[in-house]
């Protein structure tokens, strides 16, 4: 539980810990819930309540890559609904499903902040704009062909790389 030790000093530590767990394992395992409750002096219901409240936290192991498709209004205005239909058909999965080969997990998202270049898709932490169905197929093929491809930016959601000198 070094993840807990690394974050225990933070106020409101549960969310940073859950992000760190999900970065490490790809999801929040059921077994983590009683452990976190004990470590943080919370009830299991408290921890379960937080994990289940937030859309970002996954409860099952995902595929090797996460595909997030924006479903919000700006993307709708540029054909996001048709893009979603195309992706579901192409990958043969519904939202929150993982492809048979374990390559992709498909998730819906409400706004990626790329609303002037809609429709938007995020693959792992790479944002893509003006994604037509054909462009999606190219991106999926590139990602599948290059399994080690990761974004050039560091994974940023957990707390591990941030400045710690001031932590309380």
């Amino acid at each position: 539980m070094t993840i807990v030790e690394d974050n225990r000093h933070l106020r409101g530590a549960l969310l940073p810990i859950l992000h760190a767990l999900q970065e490490e394992f790809g999801y929040i395992d059921e077994q983590a819930i009683p452990l976190l409750a004990t470590e943080l002096n919370l009830s299991r219901a408290d921890v379960h309540g937080v994990v289940s409240f937030y859309h970002e936290f996954r409860r099952e192991k995902p595929g090797r890559h996460i595909i997030k498709v924006c479903r919000a209004e700006a993307c709708q205005s540029m054909g996001a609904n048709a893009l979603v239909d195309h992706i579901k058909k192409r990958l043969q999965v519904d939202f929150h499903g993982t492809t048979a080969d374990g390559a992709f997990t498909l998730e819906p998202v409400f706004c990626l902040g790329n609303c002037a270049l809609s429709p938007a898709v995020m693959i792992d932490e790479n944002l893509h704009g003006r994604v037509s169905p054909d462009r999606f197929d190219e991106l999926a093929a590139e990602t599948r062909a290059n399994p080690t491809a990761h974004n050039q930016i560091p994974r940023a959601l957990s707390h591990k790389d941030s400045h710690k000198g001031h932590a309380q």
Binding site: A13, F53, E73, A74, S77, F110, C115, A156, L157, Q168
Partner: protein, 526 residues
């Protein structure tokens, strides 16, 4: 040009990256090496002309010259055309600052965005950065609050509450500890200004928050980021570390007795956490459930302590106000809407991007003079202003001036300045249904009108769309909207009816596609 290293700017803004800016930067570096031309590439923020991204700029004695949108395949041709000295090319736009879209803007909050290297303190200072904070460090708390009050700055997150009054409440509260929290949970579709300024000018936010902290007597602060913004989060964390290294954050800021510690926290995909009390719950590590007000967060906020909660754009407007004075800022704008707002043109729009203008500009100017109409070339049928809880407006209302009060009178809101454009292929009944569906997915569940009302609203709209008892169901929907508006605890349930009602009001024909109007007033809705 011997002895002078040419500087080329290729943005690192997420939107630019989403259309290939990294590959363009790599292609420029490779081509320069091949031709043995030494050059320096700066990864700046975006200038906000997102329709031109990736927008490459070259520093010349006359100023920065723009080329875009550039693909890697265009790069050898740009070198052949002599773009390093501002040579003509089909993708050339001349001097960046002379491009009409940019030139006509009034950039106060976004003054540095896209110009500087976002992770260079030196660059930030060279462009006026930290001057506001230096002034604030020499002022009393009450003097700082007065300058902000005098500026007329109102909360840019949506509600438009006067920032100076909020700060004054926190300043006067007595407590052993106070906080400044920045709401960077920019979840509204059609908005991206928070993300852009954090990626393009992160020190501006750090400076604004530090000034707020000094003004109210807070020693700690948090920026609440979205998990959908990993790139902005990484840049902000890096900038905070640099600010600590240079003595702009931490104990004894620049040799004074002031202290401010700043940290980043990341949400987890819950739209409701953009509501300030839900955000505070989330920062405390809990479910993002809305709190009843009072108590106001200004008196009992984070961990029960007095807390300033401001939006990114509000806090990023503070440095220039402290630098140039409250009057300077107040001189922009109309009525009770002072200063500027970075409007965001989004969705089906030809020239999407950031347009920072003083309040009072009309939707028509924004949509046609800046936006250039739709990208599909079809007529604009509706625009949604102020996010998923904002009204849909038809072209007959495009002359409305952008001003908090003028918009509120139409049940619309300026909100965070996002404008989403739809052409005439849009089905407004489906958009109304989506508003309810979104509320079903994102309601925190604390109050009944929002939690249950949204589900019933979606079901009722499904019946209307299917042509079942349309009149009776529209009446039922109107009643339900009244209950949600009047009975919800926060804006989530309280404003979800705005897009629904406005769609029914302005686009009634879309709700009667399946069935002709039949009077069924005596029959209860199914």
């Amino acid at each position: 040009m011997s002895g002078h290293l040419i500087t080329v700017f290729v943005p690192r803004d997420s939107a630019a990256l989403s259309v290939g800016a990294d590959a363009v930067a790599a292609a420029i570096r490779a081509e320069a090496a091949k031709r043995d031309l030494p050059l320096r590439i700066v990864r700046n923020g975006s200038r906000g002309m997102l329709y031109l991204e990736p927008l490459v700029e070259v520093e010349t004695p006359e100023g920065r010259v723009a080329y875009g949108p550039v693909t890697p395949a265009d790069v050898p041709g740009l070198f052949d055309a002599g773009f390093l000295t501002g040579g003509d090319h089909a993708l050339g736009h001349g001097l960046t600052e002379e491009i009409p879209y940019f030139k006509k803007q009034e950039r106060l909050t976004f003054a540095r965005c896209g110009i500087i290297d976002p992770l260079s303190v030196e660059d930030y200072r060279a462009h006026g950065g930290f001057r506001g904070l230096e002034n604030a460090l020499a002022m009393s708390q009450a003097e700082i609050v007065k300058v902000v009050t005098d500026s007329g700055l109102r909360g840019r997150g949506g509600a438009g509450f006067p920032t100076g009054i909020k700060w004054n409440t926190v300043m006067q509260a007595k407590a052993d500890e106070k906080f400044v929290c920045c709401n960077a949970d920019e979840g509204d579709s059609g908005t991206f200004a928070d993300r852009m300024i954090i990626e393009g000018d992160p020190f501006c936010l750090i400076e604004g928050m530090t000034i707020a902290a000094i003004a109210v007597g807070a020693t700690s602060g948090y920026v609440y980021m979205r998990s959908e913004y990993p790139h902005a989060t990484a840049i902000l964390r890096h900038a905070i570390k640099l600010a600590y290294d240079e003595g702009w954050l931490g104990d004894n800021i620049h040799g004074t007795d002031r202290t401010f510690h700043l940290d980043v926290r990341v949400g987890a995909g819950a739209y409701i956490c953009g509501e300030e009390t839900a955000m505070l719950e989330s920062l405390e590590g809990k479910r993002g459930m809305v709190r009843a007000k009072p108590p106001l967060p200004a008196l009992e906020g984070l961990f029960g302590k007095p807390t300033v909660v401001n939006n990114v754009l509000s806090l990023c407007s503070v440095p220039i106000i402290l630098d140039k004075g409250g009057e300077y800022y107040r001189d922009f704008g109309v009525g009770r809407s002072r200063g500027t707002l970075p409007f965001q043109l989004a969705g089906n729009i030809k020239n999407g991007g950031i347009v920072e203008k003083a309040f009072g500009i009309t939707l028509h100017e924004l949509l046609y003079e800046y936006g250039g109409g739709t990208i599909t070339g079809r007529p604009i049928r509706a625009v949604q202003v102020g996010g998923p809880l904002g009204a849909y407006l038809p072209p007959s209302q495009f002359d409305l001036p952008k001003d908090y009060e003028a918009f509120a009178a139409q049940e619309a809101m300026v909100g965070h300045g996002g404008i989403v454009v739809f052409d005439d292929s849009v089905d407004m009944a489906q958009q109304a249904r989506f508003a309810m569906e979104f509320c079903v997915a994102e309601s925190c569940g604390k109050c009944t009108p929002c939690r249950i009302g949204s589900t019933r609203g979606m079901e009722t709209l499904d019946k209307i769309i299917a042509g079942k008892n349309v009149d009776a169901n529209l009446e039922l929907l109107a009643d339900l909207c009244d209950v949600m508006v009047d009975g919800s605890l926060c804006a989530m349930g309280g404003m979800t009816p705005y897009p629904v009602r406005s769609a029914v009001k302005h686009f009634p024909e879309d709700f009667r596609k399946k069935a002709p109007a039949v009077r069924v007033t005596h029959i209860a809705a199914e």
